[in-house]
Symmetry: C2
């Protein structure tokens, strides 16, 4: 009898007597046995363990498996995604997905070590917090202790990381969970995502770009085994990018190079306009309202704000925007003016951003940073068709956690304690 035994590291072939014949697919067993070289004609060069087999001794069945709802040996991409997500704990047995979990762990682990070695401290910022103006819809959490009031889940740790610069942390990072109640797209999972967020004081754009470039280069070459088309990463102004590619997200690979799944083409885009115009011809920030305008363009803030260029920097890879950041405003007067240009009333400015404007009164170092979505970057690097392929338990497009059947109704006592009603 021959049986394939699988663990996290792969497959090995077991040889034994009829006891093995009692085993069903996906049973969990403990095995004692002897590793032996396979006879030359049975060597399987496609399998990392193809030169050996294990002669079974004692076999103990630890857990019996019923018939699975789908096979777990293929890449799974042909199976309906809702079914895969409902049985995600089986779907993750698939070698492709197990490898993705492992690569994600290796990526995050590498980033943390790399930043630790360069003096960055990881600091955790709150999940139960206040609405922040990142432009997307917030998730709200009703407060029991303060009836009628709500926490918001953070869309990013933006303001907290700036407060950490005021606190003198100097070099901060966080692998942070972020929450946006936005309709899902191909390159965005619904609900929550994970972001590497980093910020440093007494810096300039050149340092941030150089640091990020070193981090990504080491990460994709050493950890993920990929090749980079151009080093150092080419740098385009926003105007050059739009003129040359018609967009600020572009792909530097030619048709032939796009056939190589291991080739990554990075490029920087800088000198973005500080503002863009909405359909109703109002101004909104190209990045976010904390991005610093370029010094030489400050006089334009009053005269012609759409012409003001900013210290924003974006990194594109194979046609996707995978990282973005900026130098931040630290002058409370400039920050206040930006809020006014964006159409906030004095009362709104005080209510939403008063804490930041006040913080800047007590001494603030010049600072800036960058952030990138771990899920999105890894999906781009691995060429996966969706971010969900690199997440353990993603929500589906309707916002449901298929495995656990959430969201679900709350009971009346809970709602009463939280001082809310469901609308009919």
């Amino acid at each position: 009898m021959f049986v394939d035994l699988r663990d996290r590291s792969g497959l090995v072939q077991i040889v034994g007597d009829q006891k093995l014949g009692e085993l069903r697919t996906e049973d969990v067993i403990a095995l004692e046995g002897t590793v032996k070289a396979r006879p030359a004609k049975l060597v399987n060069s496609k399998l990392p363990t193809g030169e050996v087999e294990v002669e079974a001794g004692k076999v103990t069945i630890l857990s019996r498996a019923a018939d699975l709802p789908f096979e777990v040996t293929s890449d799974g991409l042909q199976i309906k995604e809702d079914l895969r997500l409902k049985y995600r704990y089986l779907d993750l047995r698939r070698p492709r997905l197990a490898a993705n979990l492992k690569k994600r762990h290796q990526m995050v682990s590498f980033i943390r070590r790399w930043l630790d070695e360069r003096g960055f401290w990881e600091v955790e910022t709150p999940i139960l917090t206040k609405a922040t103006p990142e432009g997307a819809r917030d998730f709200l959490v009703p407060s029991r202790l303060q009836p009628g009031q709500f926490y918001a889940l953070p869309q990013s740790p933006q303001q907290y990381k700036q407060l950490l610069m005021v606190a003198g942390v100097e070099k901060y990072f966080q692998i942070a969970r972020c929450f946006r109640d936005e309709d899902p797209r191909a390159d965005r999972a619904y609900g929550e995502f994970t972001q590497l967020d980093l910020e440093l004081s007494f810096t300039d754009q050149a340092e941030i770009l150089s640091l990020t470039e070193q981090l990504f280069t080491s990460l994709v070459e050493q950890v993920l085994g990929k090749k980079i088309l151009q080093k150092p990463f080419p740098k385009f102004t926003y105007q050059e990018a739009v003129k040359q590619f018609g967009d600020d997200k572009f792909d530097l690979r030619d048709q032939k190079q796009r056939q190589d799944p291991d080739l990554l083409a990075f490029a920087w885009v800088v000198d973005f306009p500080l503002f863009e115009k909405t359909e109703t011809r109002q101004l909104r920030p190209s990045h976010h309202p904390f991005t610093a305008p370029k010094d030489e363009d400050l006089p334009l803030l009053d005269q012609d704000p759409v012409k003001v260029r900013s210290w924003q920097h974006d990194l594109v890879c194979n046609g996707h925007e995978i990282a973005g950041g900026s130098l931040r405003i630290t002058d409370p007067q400039v920050q206040h003016k930006i809020f006014e240009i964006l159409g906030h009333t004095q009362q709104e400015i005080q209510q939403k951003f008063g804490h930041l404007l006040e913080a800047f009164r007590y001494g603030v170092p010049p600072h800036g940073g960058i952030a990138f979505g771990i899920d999105r970057a890894l999906a781009v690097f691995l060429g996966e068709p969706s971010l969900r392929e690199v997440m353990a338990f993603p929500l589906n497009a309707s916002g449901q956690t298929a495995v656990m059947d959430a969201p679900s109704p709350a009971d009346a006592a809970q709602l009463k304690e939280l001082a809310i009603n469901v609308r009919k």
Copy 2:
């Protein structure tokens, strides 16, 4: 003129002309200068930089500081906590708190490396999820896409980590954010806390205890510079602990040893009863409903359930419970029986735990683990009076984020979109 210049690493004395006289306390400056040995009689042996001074060259004032609401040079414990939390970004300039942030980073960084080196993968589990039966009150998040339904924030990643064992991850950990809407106590912060959560397959209690003991020993000796009273950690059964100390949380240090802030007394407690009785004489789990009963006590489940002992293990340190875990039930029939003994109806079992019982049908390895609160453990190790002293931006006892003034009212349009009303 003499000025103390501070950065994240400490203080250094600057010597210069009247330009330094323009500086106000807490101004942020850039300085060029020459490091020189101090004259012998001016050496300050109490300061790490006390043998040198910097002769100031060019001084640039980067940001002016207004008068601070409190000083940031003392340990701050005499200042009203609400004021400290409102200006947390200034409070964190305090050397004690900056050192706590750094130690927390070093602790978490060390734990991650240590587990990575032993083959553990960090896997992120969802924050927007379903209510779990950890016994505390859940935070709820109304769903916009599924009106009238709610996500719950996880009290722990318990069920997800068990599903990862079903998925074949074998060795999992996560520094995970957990949420409990419970009234705060001295050893518990309100709202959210951070937990090291680890789980492994094909294990036994001895392996989990040994692994945890090695981790804690390396952590407190190498990273935090503490001494351990007894190695290996002494182990007590629950019965022995209650008999000898009157409690399952106890302090092995004598009166004199308690004066030494660097001495830590660890001990294991095992053989807990599986159930405890509530005031209304119902049974509830001593740990949680997934903890495995000891095999030899299985027959007692029907006859005398309060006599059943479990595979729970707790770690105490200096009188505090700082870690807890167990081997888990993997037999769906035993798990189902435990839910029945706890008084759940068949419908409730299906609704709340159906996914876990079904998962166990497809092959599940024996598994177990342990978890501990990062905030609590670090506060105990450092002898801090409150968990909030080792958190960057804790909620206060009324559940308010003092810095950002959350929770706060939501606007009518948001509530309408979420299909909820605030009760009058």
